[in-house]
Protein backbone atom coordinates (compact mmCIF):
# COMPACT_ATOMS: atom_id res chain seq x y z
CA UNK A 1 0.00 0.00 0.00
CA UNK A 2 1.47 3.37 -0.99
CA UNK A 3 0.58 5.03 2.30
CA UNK A 4 2.59 2.42 4.28
CA UNK A 5 5.67 3.08 2.20
CA UNK A 6 5.55 6.77 2.92
CA UNK A 7 4.58 6.39 6.55
CA UNK A 8 7.88 4.68 7.24
CA UNK A 9 9.73 7.59 5.65
CA UNK A 10 7.97 10.35 7.54
CA UNK A 11 10.65 10.75 10.21
CA UNK A 12 13.28 11.20 7.53
CA UNK A 13 10.96 13.69 5.85
CA UNK A 14 10.46 15.83 8.96
CA UNK A 15 14.22 15.69 9.60
CA UNK A 16 14.93 16.85 6.04
CA UNK A 17 16.89 13.74 5.20
CA UNK A 18 15.10 12.67 2.02
CA UNK A 19 16.46 13.42 -1.41
CA UNK A 20 14.82 16.15 -3.42
CA UNK A 21 13.02 13.58 -5.54
CA UNK A 22 11.79 11.65 -2.53
CA UNK A 23 10.61 14.84 -0.86
CA UNK A 24 8.64 15.85 -3.93
CA UNK A 25 7.00 12.44 -4.17
CA UNK A 26 6.16 12.31 -0.48
CA UNK A 27 4.71 15.80 -0.49
CA UNK A 28 2.55 14.83 -3.41
CA UNK A 29 1.32 11.92 -1.32
CA UNK A 30 0.66 14.17 1.67
CA UNK A 31 -1.69 16.38 -0.31
CA UNK A 32 -4.07 13.47 -0.58
CA UNK A 33 -3.44 11.67 2.72
CA UNK A 34 -4.73 13.36 5.84
CA UNK A 35 -3.49 10.52 8.05
CA UNK A 36 0.11 10.91 6.90
CA UNK A 37 -0.13 14.68 7.31
CA UNK A 38 -1.27 14.18 10.89
CA UNK A 39 1.49 11.69 11.58
CA UNK A 40 4.11 14.06 10.16
CA UNK A 41 2.82 16.83 12.42
CA UNK A 42 2.92 14.50 15.42
CA UNK A 43 6.46 13.42 14.68
CA UNK A 44 7.57 17.04 14.61
CA UNK A 45 5.94 17.59 18.00
CA UNK A 46 7.62 14.48 19.41
CA UNK A 47 11.02 15.68 18.23
CA UNK A 48 10.43 19.17 19.64
CA UNK A 49 9.23 17.73 22.94
CA UNK A 50 12.30 15.54 23.20
CA UNK A 51 14.66 18.42 22.47
CA UNK A 52 13.04 20.45 25.24
CA UNK A 53 13.16 17.79 27.95
CA UNK A 54 14.59 19.25 31.14
CA UNK A 55 17.64 18.29 33.16
CA UNK A 56 17.24 16.24 36.33
CA UNK A 57 17.88 17.07 39.93
CA UNK A 58 19.68 14.29 41.81
CA UNK A 59 17.73 12.72 44.62
CA UNK A 60 20.88 12.88 46.72
CA UNK A 61 24.17 14.70 46.49
CA UNK A 62 26.38 12.52 44.32
CA UNK A 63 29.51 14.56 44.92
CA UNK A 64 30.71 12.82 48.13
CA UNK A 65 30.90 9.51 46.29
CA UNK A 66 32.76 11.10 43.42
CA UNK A 67 35.14 12.90 45.75
CA UNK A 68 35.89 9.66 47.60
CA UNK A 69 36.89 8.11 44.29
CA UNK A 70 39.03 10.93 42.95
CA UNK A 71 40.78 11.99 46.17
CA UNK A 72 42.05 8.81 47.79
CA UNK A 73 43.71 10.69 50.65
CA UNK A 74 40.49 12.59 51.40
CA UNK A 75 42.49 15.60 52.51
CA UNK A 76 40.72 18.76 53.58
CA UNK A 77 42.18 20.52 50.57
CA UNK A 78 41.91 18.06 47.68
CA UNK A 79 44.74 19.11 45.47
CA UNK A 80 46.17 16.22 43.58
CA UNK A 81 49.53 16.43 41.94
CA UNK A 82 48.86 16.19 38.24
CA UNK A 83 50.58 17.63 35.25
CA UNK A 84 50.85 21.20 36.58
CA UNK A 85 49.23 23.15 33.80
CA UNK A 86 47.70 22.22 30.52
CA UNK A 87 49.91 23.18 27.62
CA UNK A 88 47.51 25.82 26.45
CA UNK A 89 48.39 29.46 26.90
CA UNK A 90 44.89 31.01 26.96
CA UNK A 91 43.65 28.50 29.50
CA UNK A 92 46.78 29.06 31.52
CA UNK A 93 46.14 32.78 31.57
CA UNK A 94 42.53 32.19 32.54
CA UNK A 95 43.61 30.04 35.45
CA UNK A 96 46.06 32.69 36.58
CA UNK A 97 43.26 35.24 36.58
CA UNK A 98 41.04 33.04 38.68
CA UNK A 99 43.77 32.27 41.17
CA UNK A 100 44.64 35.93 41.52
CA UNK A 101 41.00 36.93 41.84
CA UNK A 102 40.23 34.30 44.43
CA UNK A 103 43.32 35.18 46.41
CA UNK A 104 42.39 38.85 46.44
CA UNK A 105 38.86 37.91 47.41
CA UNK A 106 40.05 35.89 50.36
CA UNK A 107 41.97 38.84 51.71
CA UNK A 108 38.99 41.10 51.29
CA UNK A 109 37.01 38.55 53.25
CA UNK A 110 39.68 38.51 55.94
CA UNK A 111 39.52 42.28 56.22
CA UNK A 112 35.77 42.29 56.47
CA UNK A 113 35.52 39.50 58.98
CA UNK A 114 38.73 40.27 60.87
CA UNK A 115 39.36 36.57 61.11
CA UNK A 116 42.04 34.17 59.97
CA UNK A 117 41.43 33.06 56.41
CA UNK A 118 41.69 29.29 56.15
CA UNK A 119 43.88 27.97 53.36
CA UNK A 120 40.95 26.25 51.67
CA UNK A 121 39.46 29.50 50.44
CA UNK A 122 38.44 27.97 47.13
CA UNK A 123 35.84 25.82 48.83
CA UNK A 124 34.18 28.86 50.33
CA UNK A 125 33.40 30.24 46.93
CA UNK A 126 30.01 29.15 45.61
CA UNK A 127 29.95 27.69 42.10
CA UNK A 128 27.77 30.49 40.82
CA UNK A 129 30.35 33.06 41.81
CA UNK A 130 32.83 31.91 39.22
CA UNK A 131 33.58 34.82 36.89
CA UNK A 132 31.73 34.14 33.65
CA UNK A 133 34.17 35.90 31.40
CA UNK A 134 35.58 35.19 28.02
CA UNK A 135 38.98 33.54 28.28
CA UNK A 136 41.27 36.48 28.84
CA UNK A 137 44.55 37.17 27.15
CA UNK A 138 47.76 37.01 29.14
CA UNK A 139 47.84 40.78 29.42
CA UNK A 140 44.45 40.83 31.07
CA UNK A 141 45.54 38.08 33.43
CA UNK A 142 48.50 40.18 34.45
CA UNK A 143 46.30 43.21 35.11
CA UNK A 144 44.06 41.18 37.38
CA UNK A 145 47.13 39.77 39.07
CA UNK A 146 48.46 43.26 39.66
CA UNK A 147 45.17 44.31 41.24
CA UNK A 148 45.17 41.29 43.54
CA UNK A 149 48.77 42.00 44.55
CA UNK A 150 47.87 45.61 45.32
CA UNK A 151 44.97 44.49 47.53
CA UNK A 152 47.15 42.05 49.39
CA UNK A 153 49.91 44.61 49.78
CA UNK A 154 47.43 47.05 51.32
CA UNK A 155 46.27 44.47 53.83
CA UNK A 156 49.82 43.52 54.67
CA UNK A 157 50.88 47.13 55.09
CA UNK A 158 48.00 47.83 57.44
CA UNK A 159 49.04 44.90 59.65
CA UNK A 160 52.78 45.26 59.28
CA UNK A 161 53.17 46.84 62.71
CA UNK A 162 51.84 43.71 64.31
CA UNK A 163 54.59 41.50 62.84
CA UNK A 164 57.98 41.24 64.49
CA UNK A 165 60.92 42.74 62.66
CA UNK A 166 62.56 39.41 61.81
CA UNK A 167 59.39 38.15 60.15
CA UNK A 168 59.07 41.36 58.17
CA UNK A 169 62.67 41.10 57.02
CA UNK A 170 62.26 37.51 55.84
CA UNK A 171 59.02 38.39 54.14
CA UNK A 172 60.45 41.36 52.30
CA UNK A 173 63.46 39.36 51.21
CA UNK A 174 61.26 36.59 49.81
CA UNK A 175 58.97 39.05 48.09
CA UNK A 176 61.95 40.71 46.45
CA UNK A 177 63.13 37.35 45.13
CA UNK A 178 59.69 36.53 43.76
CA UNK A 179 59.30 40.02 42.30
CA UNK A 180 62.57 39.60 40.49
CA UNK A 181 61.49 36.21 39.16
CA UNK A 182 58.13 37.61 38.02
CA UNK A 183 59.82 40.50 36.24
CA UNK A 184 62.24 38.14 34.51
CA UNK A 185 59.40 35.88 33.43
CA UNK A 186 57.31 38.80 32.17
CA UNK A 187 60.21 40.06 30.08
CA UNK A 188 60.77 36.60 28.67
CA UNK A 189 57.07 36.18 27.83
CA UNK A 190 56.94 39.54 26.12
CA UNK A 191 59.81 38.51 23.87
CA UNK A 192 58.26 35.11 23.14
CA UNK A 193 54.51 35.35 23.94
CA UNK A 194 53.57 31.94 22.55
CA UNK A 195 56.18 29.99 24.45
CA UNK A 196 54.22 27.54 26.59
CA UNK A 197 57.08 26.92 29.00
CA UNK A 198 57.59 30.61 29.68
CA UNK A 199 53.89 31.22 30.20
CA UNK A 200 53.71 28.27 32.56
CA UNK A 201 56.70 29.58 34.49
CA UNK A 202 55.19 33.06 34.69
CA UNK A 203 51.86 31.76 35.97
CA UNK A 204 53.61 29.65 38.60
CA UNK A 205 55.74 32.55 39.73
CA UNK A 206 52.76 34.88 39.92
CA UNK A 207 50.90 32.33 41.96
CA UNK A 208 53.88 31.95 44.27
CA UNK A 209 53.82 35.66 45.01
CA UNK A 210 50.07 35.65 45.58
CA UNK A 211 50.43 32.73 47.97
CA UNK A 212 53.25 34.41 49.81
CA UNK A 213 51.31 37.66 50.22
CA UNK A 214 48.21 35.81 51.26
CA UNK A 215 50.08 33.91 53.95
CA UNK A 216 51.66 37.10 55.18
CA UNK A 217 48.33 38.91 55.31
CA UNK A 218 46.81 36.02 57.19
CA UNK A 219 49.72 36.03 59.60
CA UNK A 220 49.37 39.77 60.19
CA UNK A 221 45.69 39.33 60.88
CA UNK A 222 46.36 36.40 63.24
CA UNK A 223 48.70 38.56 65.30
CA UNK A 224 45.86 40.85 66.33
Amino acid sequence: MAADIWTDRLSEYVDGELTAGETTALEAHLTGCAECRQIADDLRVVARTAAALPADTPGRDLWPGIFDAIAPGKSAIPFRQRRPWHANVPRLAAAAVLIATLSGGSVWLAMRQRAVVPPATLSARPPSATPATVIPASARAERTYDAAVADLRAVLDSGRGRLDSTTVAVLERNLAIVDSAVADAQRAVRSDPNNVYLNTYLARTMRRKIDLLRQAATLARAET
Binding site: D8, L10, S11, E12, E17, I39, D42, L43, V45, V46, A47, T49, A50, A51, L53, P54, A55, D56, T57, P58, G59, R60, L62, W63, G65, I66, F67, A69, I70, A71, P78, F79, R80, Q81, R82, R83, P84, W85, H86, N88, P90, R91, L92, A94, A95, V97, L98, I99, A120, L122, S123, P127, T130, P131, A132, T133, V134, I135
Partner: protein
Amino acid sequence: MITPTRGARALKRIPARDRSDSDAVEVALATSGDAHAFERLYRKHVGRILALTRRMLSPDDAEDATQDVFIRAWQKLETFRGESAFGTWLHRIAVNVCLGRRAQLGLARERYYPDDAPLELAAHPDSGHALERMDFESALQQLPDGARQVFVLHDVEGYRHEEIADMLGTVTGTSKSQLHRARMALRRHLDR
Protein backbone atom coordinates in the same frame (compact mmCIF):
# COMPACT_ATOMS: atom_id res chain seq x y z
CA MET B 1 35.67 4.76 20.85
CA ILE B 2 33.92 8.03 20.52
CA THR B 3 36.01 11.08 20.00
CA PRO B 4 35.14 14.35 21.69
CA THR B 5 35.50 16.53 18.63
CA ARG B 6 32.32 15.63 16.83
CA GLY B 7 28.70 16.13 17.68
CA ALA B 8 28.22 19.78 16.90
CA ARG B 9 24.48 19.33 17.00
CA ALA B 10 24.76 17.97 20.50
CA LEU B 11 26.43 21.20 21.52
CA LYS B 12 23.43 23.13 20.25
CA ARG B 13 21.25 21.29 22.71
CA ILE B 14 23.38 22.40 25.63
CA PRO B 15 21.97 25.67 26.95
CA ALA B 16 24.15 28.69 26.33
CA ARG B 17 24.67 29.16 30.04
CA ASP B 18 26.27 25.72 30.15
CA ARG B 19 28.65 26.56 27.33
CA SER B 20 30.09 29.65 28.95
CA ASP B 21 33.80 30.08 28.79
CA SER B 22 33.99 30.03 32.56
CA ASP B 23 34.21 26.26 32.16
CA ALA B 24 37.66 26.76 30.67
CA VAL B 25 38.89 28.32 33.90
CA GLU B 26 37.45 25.56 36.03
CA VAL B 27 38.79 22.90 33.68
CA ALA B 28 42.27 24.43 33.82
CA LEU B 29 42.17 24.40 37.60
CA ALA B 30 40.71 20.92 37.78
CA THR B 31 43.33 19.64 35.38
CA SER B 32 45.97 20.94 37.75
CA GLY B 33 44.39 18.80 40.46
CA ASP B 34 41.95 21.21 42.09
CA ALA B 35 39.02 19.06 43.18
CA HIS B 36 37.03 22.10 44.23
CA ALA B 37 37.09 23.39 40.67
CA PHE B 38 35.97 19.98 39.50
CA GLU B 39 33.16 20.04 42.06
CA ARG B 40 31.95 23.31 40.54
CA LEU B 41 31.95 21.65 37.11
CA TYR B 42 30.06 18.73 38.59
CA ARG B 43 27.38 20.94 40.12
CA LYS B 44 26.96 22.82 36.87
CA HIS B 45 26.57 19.78 34.64
CA VAL B 46 25.16 17.04 36.87
CA GLY B 47 21.53 17.75 35.98
CA ARG B 48 21.93 17.12 32.27
CA ILE B 49 24.24 14.16 32.76
CA LEU B 50 21.83 12.57 35.21
CA ALA B 51 18.96 13.08 32.78
CA LEU B 52 20.99 11.42 30.03
CA THR B 53 21.93 8.38 32.13
CA ARG B 54 18.37 7.99 33.38
CA ARG B 55 16.97 8.06 29.87
CA MET B 56 19.65 5.80 28.45
CA LEU B 57 19.65 3.31 31.31
CA SER B 58 16.99 3.36 33.99
CA PRO B 59 16.14 5.50 37.01
CA ASP B 60 17.67 2.85 39.27
CA ASP B 61 21.02 2.90 37.48
CA ALA B 62 21.20 6.62 36.69
CA GLU B 63 22.82 8.01 39.82
CA ASP B 64 25.49 5.34 39.99
CA ALA B 65 26.26 5.81 36.30
CA THR B 66 26.40 9.58 36.75
CA GLN B 67 29.01 9.21 39.47
CA ASP B 68 30.96 6.96 37.14
CA VAL B 69 30.79 9.60 34.41
CA PHE B 70 32.34 12.28 36.60
CA ILE B 71 34.99 9.94 37.98
CA ARG B 72 36.00 9.03 34.44
CA ALA B 73 35.95 12.67 33.41
CA TRP B 74 38.34 13.50 36.26
CA GLN B 75 40.62 10.68 35.17
CA LYS B 76 40.55 11.87 31.56
CA LEU B 77 40.77 15.61 32.16
CA GLU B 78 44.28 15.82 30.81
CA THR B 79 43.02 14.55 27.45
CA PHE B 80 40.48 17.38 27.16
CA ARG B 81 41.92 19.78 24.60
CA GLY B 82 39.16 22.34 24.50
CA GLU B 83 38.31 21.48 20.89
CA SER B 84 34.69 21.14 21.95
CA ALA B 85 32.79 22.61 24.87
CA PHE B 86 33.46 20.85 28.16
CA GLY B 87 29.77 19.96 28.35
CA THR B 88 29.91 18.25 24.97
CA TRP B 89 33.02 16.33 25.97
CA LEU B 90 31.35 15.29 29.19
CA HIS B 91 28.25 14.11 27.35
CA ARG B 92 30.42 11.91 25.15
CA ILE B 93 31.88 10.30 28.22
CA ALA B 94 28.37 9.83 29.59
CA VAL B 95 27.21 8.15 26.39
CA ASN B 96 30.23 5.83 26.52
CA VAL B 97 29.50 4.95 30.14
CA CYS B 98 25.87 4.19 29.31
CA LEU B 99 26.74 2.06 26.32
CA GLY B 100 29.38 0.22 28.31
CA ARG B 101 26.96 -0.51 31.10
CA ARG B 102 24.32 -1.71 28.71
CA ALA B 103 26.82 -4.02 27.07
CA GLN B 104 27.82 -5.35 30.48
CA LEU B 105 24.22 -5.99 31.34
CA GLY B 106 23.65 -7.79 28.06
CA LEU B 107 21.10 -5.26 26.95
CA ALA B 108 22.80 -4.12 23.81
CA ARG B 109 21.59 -5.83 20.71
CA GLU B 110 19.31 -8.67 21.56
CA ARG B 111 16.65 -6.30 22.79
CA TYR B 112 16.46 -4.32 19.59
CA TYR B 113 13.18 -5.27 18.16
CA PRO B 114 13.23 -6.34 14.55
CA ASP B 115 12.34 -4.06 11.70
CA ASP B 116 8.96 -5.65 11.17
CA ALA B 117 7.90 -5.42 14.80
CA PRO B 118 4.62 -3.58 15.39
CA LEU B 119 4.83 0.06 16.34
CA GLU B 120 2.63 -0.56 19.36
CA LEU B 121 5.48 -2.36 21.08
CA ALA B 122 6.17 0.67 23.25
CA ALA B 123 2.84 0.24 24.96
CA HIS B 124 2.84 -2.37 27.66
CA PRO B 125 0.13 -4.89 26.78
CA ASP B 126 -1.35 -4.79 30.27
CA SER B 127 -1.29 -1.08 30.81
CA GLY B 128 -4.15 -0.17 28.49
CA HIS B 129 -5.41 3.35 28.90
CA ALA B 130 -3.24 3.93 31.92
CA LEU B 131 -0.21 4.30 29.67
CA GLU B 132 -1.93 7.05 27.74
CA ARG B 133 -2.00 9.11 30.90
CA MET B 134 1.67 8.66 31.53
CA ASP B 135 3.78 11.64 30.74
CA PHE B 136 6.27 11.76 27.94
CA GLU B 137 9.20 10.74 30.12
CA SER B 138 7.39 7.72 31.45
CA ALA B 139 6.41 6.69 27.94
CA LEU B 140 10.03 7.07 26.91
CA GLN B 141 11.04 4.63 29.62
CA GLN B 142 8.58 2.12 28.18
CA LEU B 143 10.31 2.03 24.82
CA PRO B 144 12.35 -1.04 23.96
CA ASP B 145 16.00 -0.45 24.79
CA GLY B 146 17.29 -0.10 21.25
CA ALA B 147 14.64 2.36 20.17
CA ARG B 148 15.00 4.36 23.38
CA GLN B 149 18.75 4.54 22.96
CA VAL B 150 18.52 5.89 19.42
CA PHE B 151 15.69 8.26 20.31
CA VAL B 152 17.60 9.73 23.27
CA LEU B 153 20.79 10.12 21.31
CA HIS B 154 19.10 11.66 18.26
CA ASP B 155 16.13 13.67 19.48
CA VAL B 156 17.20 14.52 23.02
CA GLU B 157 20.98 14.78 22.72
CA GLY B 158 21.15 15.87 19.10
CA TYR B 159 23.57 13.35 17.63
CA ARG B 160 23.40 12.53 13.93
CA HIS B 161 22.48 9.10 12.61
CA GLU B 162 26.04 8.60 11.39
CA GLU B 163 27.38 9.27 14.87
CA ILE B 164 24.79 7.06 16.51
CA ALA B 165 25.53 4.22 14.12
CA ASP B 166 29.21 4.58 14.95
CA MET B 167 28.52 4.55 18.68
CA LEU B 168 26.23 1.57 18.52
CA GLY B 169 28.21 -0.39 15.96
CA THR B 170 25.34 -0.51 13.53
CA VAL B 171 24.35 1.23 10.28
CA THR B 172 22.52 4.49 9.71
CA GLY B 173 19.51 2.69 8.26
CA THR B 174 18.98 0.85 11.52
CA SER B 175 19.34 4.06 13.49
CA LYS B 176 16.73 5.78 11.30
CA SER B 177 14.37 2.85 11.57
CA GLN B 178 14.66 2.71 15.36
CA LEU B 179 14.13 6.44 15.63
CA HIS B 180 11.00 6.33 13.51
CA ARG B 181 9.54 3.49 15.53
CA ALA B 182 10.27 5.28 18.78
CA ARG B 183 8.63 8.47 17.54
CA MET B 184 5.60 6.59 16.24
CA ALA B 185 5.16 4.95 19.63
CA LEU B 186 5.63 8.18 21.54
CA ARG B 187 3.24 10.23 19.43
CA ARG B 188 0.36 8.48 21.15
CA HIS B 189 1.52 9.95 24.46
CA LEU B 190 1.70 13.57 23.43
CA ASP B 191 -0.13 15.96 25.68
CA ARG B 192 -2.87 17.12 23.36
